[in-house]
Symmetry: C2
Subunit: 182 residues, 2 copies
DNA sequence: TATGACATGTAATCTGTTACATGATTAG
DNA sequence: CTAATCATGTAACAGATTACATGTCATA
């Protein structure tokens, strides 16, 4: 059982919301704010094939009724289970260092794929990881700020501010979910 | 003339500040806040060889005097020119979408590699790109906010807040450089 | 009937990951 | 002497990018 790539999970999440063809996915990736993910056929079609080989999705060819031939992909039960597993796995400091892109993707799909209770758990896990990471960042900053040039110091500050902003958003999101659940 | 990868530019920037061996670079990548970049030998040594083949760096073997054999790499004039070209190229909206990691790397090296005037120009270019990107993001948000589930809406908000936070930092950094230049 | 959008793919190439391999030197 | 650390690499593989290739259908 191989690891699934970020693009793979993005595809799983989108298919969970709506069955789609490779072309549909390309349009989503190129036209919406998911431009971070590749919209090139050389990335998407091989990714779809890998997911199908792993048994996470299944494609059915749509034919007849004056339509062009196109293959619609849907999640299998195994695919939904894998999507949920990925979404619910705890947020690590590593996830934060790698850029947070993947966490946000997990969050974006969490509600429709696993429900609001899971979404809240994911947010709490993120809050936890941030609470561990921020003090370490600040300590490292204190250690280098006398030695580094101004630009290095400011770049570091940018990273810290980004984490702080993410923390504030996390609290905002938690509050939103707690309000809607009662 | 091939494109240089992000890791390649990270290496160029570090070598510009201090000549170093592959092992030194690995230690920097694994021990500091540059953990986003690979510290694996399978990434660094091939990257060093590519940079040397392109004539951007030159390695000299240090021997004798009871030291272990190690190869110290330094920037060539061509390497410094390429680093400056990369740092001074204008910031595009594409750069913002791709995650901003590369912009920050350019900024971090800009002062020592090209001087504070160049750093200021880079910051103004970043401010410009953000001023173009933020309204577009807000428009897209207005378009989807009625249709998307709560989690999708919040994820989008996270992206907007991140950009706003980056904008505030940019102004802070510009003010810092303007203060120090007078 | 010809043009362009729809829809799907392949091939070459590059970069990075993981895991393994090798030898030198120093500390205990 | 031997274990750990320093220092450098290689090999197999996965995933993405770019560019190209192919065929279908609607419409002008």
């Amino acid at each position: 059982m191989k690891e699934t790539s970020r693009l793979g999970y993005a595809i799983l999440g989108l298919l969970q919301m709506n069955p789609a063809s490779g072309y549909d996915l390309r349009k989503i990736f190129s036209s919406t704010s998911m431009k971070t993910y590749s919209d090139s056929p050389g990335a998407i079609y091989p990714a779809l094939r890998r997911l199908e080989e792993e048994g996470l999705i299944r494609g059915t060819v749509e034919e007849g009724s004056g339509m062009r031939r196109r293959q619609i992909f849907r999640l299998t039960p195994k695919g939904l289970a894998e999507l949920k597993r990925w979404i619910t796995s705890p947020v690590t400091v590593e996830d934060l260092i790698r850029g947070g892109q993947e966490i946000l993707l997990r969050f974006a799909f969490s509600e429709t794929a696993a429900g609001p209770a899971t979404t809240l758990r994911l947010l709490r896990s993120l809050e936890n990881a941030l609470q561990a990471h921020l003090p370490a960042l600040r300590r490292e900053f204190d250690a280098i700020k006398t030695k580094a040039p101004t630009s290095g110091r400011l770049a570091f500050e940018c990273g810290i501010r980004g984490c702080e902003s993410l923390m504030k958003w996390t609290h905002h999101a938690i509050a939103t979910y707690e309000r809607s659940s009662k």
